[in-house]
Symmetry: C2
Subunit: 490 residues, 2 copies
């Protein structure tokens, strides 16, 4: 039933013929490198099969609609763990496991923020993950505005002490060349509280880390640093930040009341959920793929990162159905606690330290599930990174039916990061990024933002890349004569 | 200070030379009709002056930031009336007045909606204006979904009785040819409650009337009709409507709890705020311009319709500063209670019935303050409408520095509607419409959505059109030999 719909949909998205390959320009034998040449038939088979129909969207609908958001420690996250574990067993995968970790446990409570001078105006807000609460009646104080760190330096302690500090840093509109600007903007959310506390602020408000808003606040973690008091911090919508900043610019005194009944509780159990497509001849060598199963406690965690989870789950399901079992093992890891502690990532490295030297690659999908655009790669060893990037550029040719792909070096994903020191080749699954931060960490991150065809394209891309990395004679990031090379392909 | 900024800004928006007219193609003498020819110097003077700097954005910032939203009967609306009255006196206009009307008084209370089966999920909602409340503990019932009226007919009473009925009509994305699709979509908000009650529904939820959402509900009026029980009704966000509809489609029973403590109170006093640029030789002939001062009780009523108010206020202020006093009187009317009763519009017709025959035109600005695109016109008399449209097409040439403008017939605005029966030429001020309904009736309708240059362009357009209609020898909508024609222009 689905195959027909997907086939039609994909035609309109990437302009393909019914085979899944461009009609006007069939793949040329001389176009790719040795890996392209070796795997073009397998890649075509995977992509055609995925685009003809797969179970990823149904899985994601279940996760988003039946379970919903799933912050670490919530009953929702426990339910998500059970569901993912059962789903991977039902799909017939080997070694399905829930690998327990102890993780930070932050709980949002009743919360509100309102401008009370010069008039009463309730604001759209979300407390930041990890924040301490306010007193029961909240904190009421005049507001001082800093547009960036330079402003903060200029303001100095005398203008900040005893006040609520608003960081009004404006994340720029998405730029295809420069990207989202998230990296700069998120600093204020992460570091703002302690930077403000260092100068005597009693609480911090942060303009939401997004370029687009329909009065939508975006939460996320803060990090208390240094010897400064831990003060409450919340994100407010762009509109509310604009309101306050414009009034303050016009020399109108603004007073705000901030109430947050959140709590930092004792560490909670959570779990990475893992399962394997066990390799044939080199089963102890592992290619990890996955997204993080936890999410913030608003919306449905659809783009961040339910999509990444179901892409990985479906990638090995598709390969298993096609009976395309690579030499090495592909292990799905659905990470626990990416959003507020990385306890899953750290726990994995600890629990699997004896086999990390046999981890050939670890690929994270955590940038949303829009149209795939390629992969990123990084490695502690520069030569390894160079070789891996070259190999991946060759592999990208296999994905041409899904559009133009490229390889960027020097980044990957948060959950695979702790494996860096063990020399694992770390990879990030990249997608078109213009809308991701409109939804990220907000109540608007819901299933309706996920396009079924784009989700399938990501399944196809990841399944293909993971299959080839797991099967090719070369070990990713090592010269052809490296330790795991066999003579020829089977 | 502002002039330089505006001059630069306008250059980039409409590609003008510093004079405000296209550099490459100066206005041709043979291009317009007789009105263009007669008024080209005056029009140029108005447009250049407005675009060089004006007070409209400051006024709108004051209304939005210092007063905020202003539903009829709220203290905010009373403050808005006083502010507008004082502002127009300060601007030196004649006959500034608050003309009292008695208006419907609806008050939102605490309200919430949550899906409670198959899991607990609070929804983003706004009760509909005029709705009756629920019992204190709310209404809890299974949900039945109708995508449109056809679905409703198909469902029949047995599937609806005792249930909460969700109207899940999908407003299409904005289309430059077909427009917003608001007219069709809003029917479910206005009529849904009684259509549902007629079939036994216990409450109604309506998918918000918008094509874009970041979990943003949009309120608006409902109208109870017929002999059916008045049942509570609320708008929910697109995301929440999608969640419920997808679950119900998948045969998952969905139960919702809806709580609304809103109240319909006794009629409240409110007021149209009026002031005049009194005409020189025909002061008893009147051209009305205005927007509505009330708004919904969320956001700041910036696009709907603070912008329309300040455009009209500023239009006569600019003319007065230029000492361009037309023959006829231009009367600003800032309408009361457009959103939930039209009491201002109805009260004006009653209070001014003796002078309606001398109302030459009534122009409403209530479509947002994006880039101006022209005007609409309608008249009870078809010949009058034809003549007026022809004259207005001539006048549109005068606005060419602001972009291409056209005239549409057969529509105008809600507040001027009641003058139709008196033969007044009714006009609507039209603007580019792709984003208006993203913000309309929502918490996202805030000052940051208004571009200062686009606001100025609207002031320039309205000031020019109102000036010409008020000054030209012809009376709008009547042949040149009509009753108010003088011999020649001064």
């Amino acid at each position: 039933m689905l195959s027909h719909i997907f086939a039609l949909a994909i035609l309109s998205v990437v302009g393909l013929g019914v085979s899944g390959f461009p009609e006007t320009e069939p793949p040329k034998e001389d176009r790719g490198g040795p890996i392209t040449e070796r795997y073009k038939d397998e890649a075509r088979r995977i992509i055609d099969s995925v685009m003809a129909g797969n179970d990823a969207y149904r899985k994601l609908e279940h996760l988003c609609l039946r379970i919903g958001h799933r912050l670490t420690g919530s009953s929702d996250m426990f339910r998500a763990v059970e569901w993912a574990f059962e789903q991977m067993r039902l799909d017939g995968h080997e070694n399905a496991r829930r690998e327990q970790v102890m993780a930070p446990h932050w709980l949002r409570g009743a919360e509100s923020a309102a401008m009370i001078t010069p008039r009463y105006a309730p604001m759209a807000m979300l407390g930041l993950g990890g924040s301490v609460p306010t007193p029961k009646d909240g904190i009421t104080a005049p507001v001082v505005v800093a547009n960036d760190w330079d402003d903060l330096d200029w303001l100095q302690r005398e203008h900040i002490e005893g006040r609520i500090l608003l960081f009004n840093y404006k994340m720029p509109p998405y730029d295809p060349e420069k990207g989202s600007g998230y990296g700069d903007a998120v600093q204020y959310r992460v570091k703002g509280a302690s930077r403000g506390a260092a100068l005597g602020a009693v609480a911090v408000l942060v303009r939401s880390v997004t370029a687009n808003s329909l009065r939508t606040p975006h939460t996320g973690s803060l990090r208390y640093q240094g010897p400064y008091p831990k003060i409450p911090a919340a994100a407010i919508s762009i509109e509310d930040a604009e309101m306050i900043a414009r009034l303050v610019d016009a020399k109108v005194p603004v007073t705000v009341n901030l109430k947050m009944q959140c709590r930092n509780l004792d560490p909670t159990p959570s779990a990475n959920v893992t399962a394997e497509l066990r390799g044939t001849t080199l089963p102890d060598e592992i290619v990890v793929i996955g997204g993080h199963l936890d999410s913030w406690d608003v919306g449905q965690g659809a783009q961040d990162d339910g999509g990444g989870c179901v892409i990985a789950m479906e990638a090995i399901t598709v390969l298993r159905k096609l009976n395309m079992i690579p030499k090495r093992t592909i292990r799905v890891v659905l990470w626990a606690n990416e959003e507020n502690g990385l306890a899953g990532a750290k726990g994995y490295v600890e629990a699997h330290k004896d086999e990390l030297s046999r981890h050939v690659a670890a690929i994270e999908s955590d940038g949303g599930v829009f149209r795939p655009t390629g992969f990123s790669v990084e490695c502690a060893d520069a030569e390894c990174e160079r070789v891996a990037a070259e190999q991946l550029r060759d592999i990208m040719n296999l994905l041409s039916p899904l559009g133009s792909m490229d390889v960027k070096t020097g980044s990957s994903g948060a959950d695979v990061g702790p494996m860096r020191a063990s020399g694992v080749v770390l990879m990030g699954h990249r997608v078109e990024g213009s809308k991701y931060f409109d939804y990220h960490h907000s109540a608007a991150d819901t299933i309706d933002k996920v396009d079924p065809t784009e989700l399938s394209m990501n399944v196809a891309a990841l399944a293909t890349v993971a299959y080839v990395i797991a099967d090719m004679p070369e070990r990713l990031g090592r010269p052809v004569a490296g330790e795991t090379v066999e003579s020829g392909s089977e």
